[in-house]
């Protein structure tokens, strides 16, 4: 994590920069002509600030982009009035400048062509690239129907293409953020409280007395306001309990770190329920008033004693009891955090259910220091003709998974492979803002699907690995160079944030709203894009919301008073939960009727065979997905991932910190690149750990290419969640190779 200082390189930059100093600063140094000169130079500089919200991750913190008089972006600073960041961006937001400055950015549209029998890209004009896409999409639409056009997306650009797709009559839309990330917790909490968690999570961490993290590594995930609130909670003396086989940063800040054996979390939670019920630590009044199926639950967990769980989890019974009592004492100001990336073992909805049930028992939903009732403000829809109704879409493609609430990317991928029983033939993809080769497990299946496609378009700012599979690549400009939809998110108080361009798009890159409109016009749905500039849409919407572009340019963020209800439940409130029964469902009739366990069940998952280690992966605070590895500022902080290995394992294999190794998984998939070993006590002896998002295959990413290992490459075994189609990815085992397995092959 320590930043290195490279050897002498000649760069023409002065040491003193930043915001213009005031004239009084000139006097600050007295007889110091050198500094006086520098300060004078800076006084002359005028900085302009433009509002934006960050797109380096999905937290969407509102910020100010500072540009100097030469129109160069100098820095990005958080907006003080924004509930996502409270004026403090995380390293990725601060380093967002690098996304703009990265000289490896996609610069022009690219079209796949063949030269001497080899596939390559040639530069193309926007006109040519857009015409080609429109022709191919029209051919697919005419032959198979608009439904056969699929959109795989993430973030703000995705919204513009979603509009295009719906106009065309396709609802074949999915994002890895659901089935490969947070989907299971949404399904699990929804089945219990009738409400999604959503983003940002409505966790009242700043006022909590006890925060329980189960594999959730706040602090390594820089979900900004949440990290800030955890820090507030530490100041307030809150108890933090972390369940993780690895000593995460959060675990190191915890009163109790439960170093659990991987894949046994449900057993621990059943034992917690057992203690909480047996010892009467639950919120009796709340459970009686709002709960349904408590007696069934009580009966069900009566045998799941801490002693029973000890044999499974390796957590000592007295520690299970002690932590359960800590939660009980703090209740209802306690949070069993739902986590974010929860696609682990295939029973993830049930694990999320266990978390939700614990929260229900402790009465934390709708209580101060637990979960608050979130609220957002509706952004009015810019008028357009009604969308066409598709015959099938994401829902039908994922029909095997009854509680899926969004498109399942992996099912859309499967539907792209022709077969006699495939009722939903997907023929073309548009991939926007998501590097699916690094987020989707089972590369073989993904490549097979991409092989079968009649046409594939990728829209991105960077030559991510996925662009290598496209027929056409379109260069999107970064968030600092474009308008996008107004950010309206769920929070304690509703708020909106504006994103507007601080500078003109670099190179020949374009904003996604423009790309979507151009395609729409060519595909005969131009009337859905009744504007020349997206600014007009924003202006219209802001006016309807009682503000204006002029005002928002000055403030960036506008907060609105709550209208829906109070933040927490009132003493004597007769609240009806938005579940089928109107109650918190400890026992889920819905799940039972669908043929699933009505209460979460512990299932033993496969364990690594001799010589293999469970591959665990996580996040580093300065990187997002595989998106930022090449960002010059963030790459400077962390250039590659390393392989965390317990000293016992290192002794057996003979590994030293800094040594390069390769990994091979249970399906004999070998990592393309090597990774540096980091011998550390912070991981268990039965697993290894690495940060996700490294090991890029594309040489055009000059800083990130071949640096570290891509964990997703080694995830070939997927445990699918039968309830919502999530892809459990933590059941892969690797052996550590000290000899280069590619010695005789060219990569």
């Amino acid at each position: 994590m320590t930043t290195s200082r490279r050897k002498f390189i000649k760069i023409s930059a002065l040491g003193l920069g930043g915001v213009a100093a005031t004239t009084s600063a000139i006097k600050m140094f007295g007889a110091n002509p050198y500094l006086d000169e520098l300060v004078k130079e800076n006084v002359a500089k005028k900085f302009k600030r433009t509002p934006t919200y960050c797109e380096v991750c999905f937290w969407k913190c509102a910020a100010w982009t500072y540009t100097n008089e030469n129109g160069e972006i100098k820095k990005i600073i958080g907006n003080d009035n924004d509930p996502h960041c409270y004026g403090r961006l995380c390293p990725r937001g601060t380093g967002g400048v690098g996304m703009y400055n990265d000289e490896d950015r996609l610069k022009t549209p690219l079209i796949r062509t063949t030269v001497n029998g080899e596939d390559t890209f040639r530069k193309a004009s926007w006109e040519e690239a857009l015409d080609l896409i429109a022709a191919k999409f029209k051919a697919v639409k005419d032959k198979y129907g608009a439904e056969s056009l699929a959109l795989l997306k993430h973030g703000a650009p995705g919204k513009h293409f979603e509009h295009l797709y719906k106009a065309l009559g396709s609802d074949t839309i999915a994002e890895p953020a659901y089935a490969q990330c947070r989907g299971a917790r949404e399904a699990g909490f929804n089945a219990t409280f009738g409400s999604w968690i959503g983003s940002p999570e409505p966790t009242d961490i700043r006022d909590t007395k006890c925060l329980v993290l189960i594999g959730s590594h706040i602090g390594e995930n820089m979900h900004n306001s949440q990290v800030q609130e955890m820090s507030d909670a530490i100041d307030n003396g809150a108890t933090i309990i972390t369940v993780d086989p690895r000593l995460s940063t959060a675990a190191s800040k915890s009163k109790h770190w439960l170093a659990i054996k991987p894949a046994t979390d449900i057993a621990l939670m059943l034992a917690w329920m057992n203690v909480i019920i047996e010892e009467g630590l639950y919120d009796k009044e709340y459970v009686e008033k709002y709960g349904l199926g408590f007696n069934e639950l009580k009966e069900y967990v009566s045998t799941f004693t801490p002693e029973w769980a000890y044999g499974i989890t390796t957590i000592k019974p007295e520690l299970i009891r002690e932590t359960a009592r800590e939660m009980g004492n703090a209740a209802p100001s306690v949070i069993i955090h739902p986590g974010r990336h929860v696609s682990w073992y295939g029973d993830d909805t049930q694990r999320a259910r266990a978390m939700a049930i614990l929260n229900g028992l402790l009465g934390s939903w709708g209580r101060r220091g637990g979960f608050y009732f979130k609220e957002s403000i509706k952004v009015p829809k810019y008028p357009h003709p009604a969308y066409n109704h598709p015959k099938w879409g994401w829902k039908e493609i994922g029909e095997k998974y009854p509680l899926a609430q969004m498109g399942i990317t992996t099912e859309v991928i499967k539907a792209s492979i022709p077969s006699p029983d495939n009722k939903y033939p997907v023929k073309a993809w548009l991939v926007a803002g998501t590097n699916i080769t690094k987020s989707i497990p089972d590369r073989k299946l993904l490549e097979a699907a991409m092989d079968e496609l009649e046409f594939m378009v990728v829209v991105d700012t960077m030559p991510m690995d996925v662009t290598g599979y496209a027929d056409v690549v379109l260069p999107e400009c970064t968030y600092l160079e474009r308008f996008d939809g107004i950010r309206s998110a769920t929070n304690r108080e509703p708020s909106i944030a504006l994103r507007m361009p601080a500078v003109k798009p670099k190179y020949d890159s374009k904003p996604s709203w423009w790309i979507a409109k151009q395609l729409g016009e060519r595909l005969g749905v131009g009337d859905y894009f009744a504007y020349d500039d997206y600014k007009e849409v924003i202006e219209w919407q802001l006016e309807k919301m009682g503000t204006s572009l002029e005002e928002m340019e000055k403030i960036g963020v506008k907060n609105f008073p709550r209208k829906s209800r109070s933040l927490y439940l009132k003493e004597d409130e007769k609240y009806e939960f938005p579940t089928m029964s109107g109650k918190i469902e400890f026992y889920s009739k819905e799940l039972k009727e669908l043929g699933f366990d009505p209460m979460p069940k512990y299932t033993a998952h496969p364990e690594p065979p001799q010589g293999f280690y469970r591959l665990n992966y996580g996040r580093a605070p300065m990187h997002t997905f595989s998106r930022t590895a090449n960002n010059p500022n963030l790459n400077d902080l962390k250039k590659e991932n390393d392989l965390w290995v317990n000293p016992k394992v290192a002794r057996i294999i003979g590994l030293k910190t800094g040594q390069r190794v390769w990994l091979r998984n249970q399906d004999e998939i070998t990592s393309t690149f090597s990774i540096k070993v980091r011998v550390t006590e912070r991981v268990r002896w039965d697993s290894v750990y690495m940060v996700h998002g490294f090991g890029h295959d594309n040489k055009k990413l000059t800083r990130a290419y071949a640096k570290g290992i891509n964990d997703t490459q080694l995830v070939s075994k997927v445990a699918v969640d039968p309830i919502m189609g999530g892809t459990g990815m933590r059941g892969n085992f690797v052996e550590i190779l000290t000899e280069n397995p590619h010695k005789n092959t060219e990569i």
Binding site: T2, T94, M222, R684
Partner: protein, 177 residues
């Protein structure tokens, strides 16, 4: 007036935001840094201690870098901030060698560079860039001579340490532990 920084290791998550914020605020070229993160692990699984902290120039009261500078480029202001005057610096590197905190580096433009406590921001009543950006709010900045300042109160009430106290430099970056 004696400026000091207090950093709460119980809150720092080692995210390196302080590093990027300093780089963009002070035009520090990529590949160099005026502040950095260290991680210390002790103990054996599962009884482990982890300490994360942000380090930088300690603006020592007894600064070896100032004493050893042959040209006077390294100097200390009345408020305790240690600075380098770039065009008086001949890049000899004596100060880099003398610093027990490895806080100084050769700037590619040929002079020695390091943390300035963002003096240009202080003059405008702003906090150093690292302090104002930190998402965990684990960094505090203020006047040690003022007993009511936040830093003085924290040092009075909380257990703390400095780095390499044996060097006798009287550092002014404190760590709450």
């Amino acid at each position: 007036m004696r400026y000091a920084m207090v950093i709460d290791t119980l809150k720092c998550v080692g995210c390196s935001d302080c590093v990027v914020a300093c780089q963009t605020e002070n035009d520090v070229p990529i590949g160099y840094c005026r502040d950095w993160i260290t991680e210390t692990v002790s103990g054996a699984y599962p009884t482990i201690e982890l300490e994360l902290k942000s380090e930088r120039c300690n603006h020592c009261d007894n600064a070896p870098c100032v004493r050893c500078c042959p040209t006077g480029a390294s100097h200390q202001l009345d408020n305790g901030i240690v600075l380098v005057t770039g065009d008086e610096c001949i890049g000899c590197g004596a100060c880099i060698e003398s610093c027990p905190y490895d806080a100084r580096f050769q700037h590619p433009d040929g002079y020695v560079d390091k943390c300035t406590f963002c003096h240009h921001r202080l003059e405008k009543g702003q906090l150093p860039a690292c302090v104002s950006v930190c998402p965990t709010k684990c960094m505090y900045f203020g006047d040690l001579d003022n007993p009511n300042s936040e830093v003085s109160r924290l040092l009075k009430n909380r257990k703390h340490k400095t780095l390499a106290p044996e060097a006798g430099t009287k550092p002014k970056v404190y760590y709450l532990i």
